[in-house]
């Protein structure tokens, strides 16, 4: 009797563990089963490389949005990564405990703020500032990059801090004993040693940046054209969905779902190449 119970509960735990595999399979199934036929119908080249998005005329080219997502993500990394990693260094090595007690919860709070609140802050604070500084309506590649750069900070900081802390203390002491200053040691010894963890943080930040929808759609301007400067408006893949899903019908709606599938494939490719990279490093 007891034995039976032990066995059956083991099975129950196994079943719950298989749930995540099952979830990934049905997510892939639904996305591809809905998206790929649409892409085939529009024509993969017309869809992915077409530069015109005019649903009213049945022209669905998402190339401007693909570029838009890449530009905005790259911009957010240029802004967010230096600040985030330097802040991680400060938290992990230079921060007095007195300051740490307040700084750490502050970073956690930054991570918990909903993206809609970030978007609202961007809309009412960053956009007017950009408008005053550069003219135009203030919604641009640059504005979106700044906002996303802020939003990826907590990810970069907490992953960065954890991976710097994971470097053995003996590395630090060894370098100090050789006469290096604490700062030199951290930047020339600790950071290289924490490289793989820091890369993981950056990948997570890319995922968050490219997948962010609500906040970006509020500050990017959303013109479905290839932006020609940092200050022109831009529409990302995510914003394309958020903006038009509400009223789209028929083929238009299917094209938006297919946009989501393209985004999903992007994320899969990024994560796959990262895990391949990590596997190579491990060897």
């Amino acid at each position: 009797m007891n034995k039976l119970r032990e066995k059956s509960m083991g099975c129950v735990f196994l079943v719950t563990a298989l749930a995540s595999i099952f979830a990934v399979i049905i997510i892939c199934l639904f996305l591809f089963a809905n998206g790929l036929p649409t892409i085939a119908e529009i024509g993969p080249f017309d869809f992915l490389l077409g530069t015109t998005w005019k649903p009213t005329n049945d022209i669905y080219g998402i190339f401007p949005m693909i570029l838009g997502s890449i530009y905005v993500t790259a911009g957010s990394l240029i802004i967010g990564v230096p600040v985030g990693l330097l802040c991680a260094v400060y938290l992990a090595r230079f921060c007095p405990p007195r300051v740490y007690k307040y700084l750490k919860p502050a970073v956690d709070l930054l991570a918990g703020i909903p993206s809609i609140v970030y978007g609202f802050f961007g809309l009412v604070v960053i956009v007017p500032i950009m408008r005053d500084l550069f003219g135009g309506n203030g919604k641009s590649v640059l504005t979106a990059s700044i906002l996303l750069g802020i939003m990826i900070l907590p990810t970069l900081i907490s992953v960065g801090e954890a991976s710097i802390r994971a470097v053995p203390e003996s590395y630090y002491e060894g370098a100090l004993a050789l006469g290096a200053t604490p700062e030199e040691t951290v930047f020339k010894v600790m950071l290289p040693a924490a490289k793989s963890g820091l890369t993981a943080g950056v990948i997570l930040a890319i995922d968050r940046s490219i997948g962010e929808a609500m906040a970006v759609s509020m500050v990017a301007g959303n013109q479905p054209i290839i932006p020609d400067s940092l200050l022109s408006g831009v529409r990302t893949l995510t914003a394309n969905i958020v903006l038009e899903m509400g009223y789209a019908a028929d083929m238009h709606r299917e094209a938006l779902l297919a946009t989501g599938v393209v985004l999903f494939i992007f994320i899969l490719l990024i994560n796959l190449s990262f895990s391949l990279l990590r596997r190579r490093d491990d060897k």
Binding site: E6, F13, L14, T16, A17, L18, A19, S20, I21, A23, V24, I27, F30, L31, P82, L86, C87, V89, Y90, L103, A106, D108, L109, L110, G112, I113, P114, S115, I116, V117, Y118, G119, F120, F121, L123, V125, I150, I157, T181, E183, E184, V186, F187, L204, D207, R208, G211, A213, M214, M218, T238, I241, V242, M245, G260, L263, I267, I270, N271, S275
Partner: protein, 280 residues
């Protein structure tokens, strides 16, 4: 102190680096403060009692129905995600043997799940529950979508908490003649509880702040639905709807304040519970 100054005089580069990292940290704090204070200053004067009336009308733009929907959404999502999350963490830490073929697959899928953007979850929920199962926009569609979304978070935090339980606890329990199940439920889970709870609370935070995954699953209907099979908006979706209608900026500020306060409480609660482990 004096010694430090002498050292830094000789190493201007070290000083520069030190200034750089401190500036980065200061910048981060500055951003957080300006965001929080801006929203509080603009939002608190707009917190009127009419915003908390039971019924939503286009005149009062009350957020009360949205708050009730958020609570329903949180409770129901946890009801699904927590058993699955804890169950799979138990399997991974307590049952799976070394060299188990399933474990790497589970790890890969949870990593994939945690990388999927919330808007893609939203589209999936729309295709699977709203359209294919023909539930229409309903709380249930949102609940299942969110449950899948927070599953990896609960799994990871529970697993960490279980791994932190010393093996001597388990051995002691076995030594006293307890079986595996009894050991898990009477010894391992209770001592891992603070860690699990802090992960669950973080999950609550994600549910409360979620917008993109809910607009196309639970919809943005105002009011409290009378069953889980009808739609309703949560607080974050409510704020999005107010903003996109463009007429309710003041109300949006007030909603942002409520969201911020909720997130703050959730965060502190999670940290407080997590600290309990360290102090034990």
């Amino acid at each position: 102190m004096k010694q430090y100054f002498r050292m830094y005089k000789k190493h201007p580069k070290a000083v520069a680096l030190r200034i750089l990292v401190t500036t980065a940290a200061a910048l981060t704090v500055l951003v957080l403060f300006s965001l929080v204070f801006y929203i509080l200053i603009k939002g608190i004067p707009n917190l009127k009692p009419s915003l908390f009336e039971w019924k939503y009308t286009s005149k009062n733009a009350s957020m009360m129905p949205a708050i009730i929907n958020t609570i329903t959404m949180v409770l129901m999502t946890l009801l699904i995600a927590v058993p699955f999350g804890i169950g799979s963490a138990i399997y991974l830490t307590e049952y799976a043997k070394r060299g188990n073929k399933v474990v790497p697959v589970i790890r890969m899928t949870t990593e994939t799940l945690s990388g999927i953007p919330s808007i893609v979850y939203g589209l999936f929920g729309y295709m699977a529950f709203v359209r294919w199962l023909d539930w229409g926009y309903s709380l249930m569609a949102g609940i299942i979508t969110l449950a899948i979304m927070i599953l990896p978070l609960i799994m990871r935090t529970t697993e960490e908490a279980l791994l932190a339980v010393p093996d001597s606890y388990r051995e002691g329990s076995y030594g006293l003649g307890a079986g595996r199940l009894r050991t898990i439920f009477r010894v391992v889970l209770p001592s891992a509880m603070p860690g699990i709870l802090s992960g669950v609370i973080l999950g609550v935070g994600r549910i409360v702040g979620e917008t993109a995954a809910l607009i196309y699953t639970a919809g943005s209907v105002t009011g409290v639905p009378n069953s889980l099979m009808s739609g309703g908006r949560t607080l974050a979706v409510h704020m999005y709807a107010l903003l996109s209608e463009g007429l309710y900026t003041d109300e949006a500020y007030a909603t942002a304040v409520v969201l911020l306060v909720l997130v703050f409480i959730i965060n502190r609660l999670s940290a407080y519970v997590a600290n309990k482990i360290q102090n034990r």
